[in-house]
Symmetry: C2
Subunit: 151 residues, 2 copies
DNA sequence: TATTGTTATACTCTATAACTATA
DNA sequence: TATAGTTATAGAGTATAACAATA
């Protein structure tokens, strides 16, 4: 059942019909990817903050809360957990003593890279089973999806 | 910056390189989609159960819990909430009096359809702004993604 | 005895309100 | 006064353990 039997998946290419199919496929794929986590016992929110800091460098609790769309007290709790796990550090802000600067530790960066590696490995195994043509479709779709998400 | 400048998005079509790009695009898109929630005052879990019952017909609490990968006590709580909202009914199982049969009400079915419509609207607007060729790419990608997620 | 479903209880994550320290 | 961050407290969702009813 590879190429000949897919009646629902290539319907009329109308935007409304495609939206429903694409939404389901994207949500389901992301759920599967999220399930591929590293051994670190982190919640989604904790990992999201750790990955943000690893990707973009040190930040203040308020900035992180804004980016994660969470209230400051919730971020305090998340950061406290990451601190106790030794995955981030908290230091004084050089210019403003009200603020704090949070940064990943070496262990934190390792955790992020490990999780990323596992998720990529899971996906890469499945991509390797596709035809070159199918991979080309996904490569084009990747760029289009990125544009949509950033809009 | 549409066709001439995309160095990262169509790299060598190797599975490993594509995996990282696709993972980021899928996770980011799903994050945006999830942020577009409807007015319906239901949690993700409650809506998920309601949509399941609307899609597949009446079921027992245990079956629903299995499908949603949740423990039975958690499902009891979710079903109680949906019952109090008048979105589902609970009746005796015809063959086994230990079990119960849960089904959506007309109000429940309406809620599901309305929510689905609202969630798709955001994505449909963005798809409508694409070229027919780009929509065709996403239609093909949808089918491929679904296969990957189900594997 | 085994299975279905519920109740009792606790833990996690998030929220709002009130507080402290600094600008 | 305004802002950054924390503490206090509450609500929603899920989990395990113990229990009742039925097979």
């Amino acid at each position: 059942m590879n190429a000949a039997t897919k009646p629902r998946t290539v319907p009329r290419a109308g935007a409304a019909a495609l939206a429903a199919e694409l939404r389901i496929a994207v949500m389901r794929a992301s759920r599967r990817l999220r399930a591929e986590k590293s051994d670190a016992d982190l919640s989604d929110g904790q990992y999201s903050v750790l990955a943000l800091l690893e990707r973009e460098g040190p930040s203040t609790p308020r900035e992180i809360a804004l980016h994660e769309r969470v209230q400051p007290p919730s971020m305090t709790r998340t950061l406290t957990a990451l601190l106790e796990l030794g995955l981030v550090t908290r230091t004084e802000h050089p210019d403003d003593r009200r603020q704090a600067l949070v940064a990943v530790t070496e262990a934190g960066a390792t955790t992020v890279r490990e999780t990323r590696r596992r998720r990529d490995a899971w996906l890469a195994r499945r991509l390797a089973a596709l035809t070159p043509d199918e991979r080309a479709v996904l490569a084009r779709a990747t760029e289009i999806l990125r544009r949509i998400a950033d809009s």
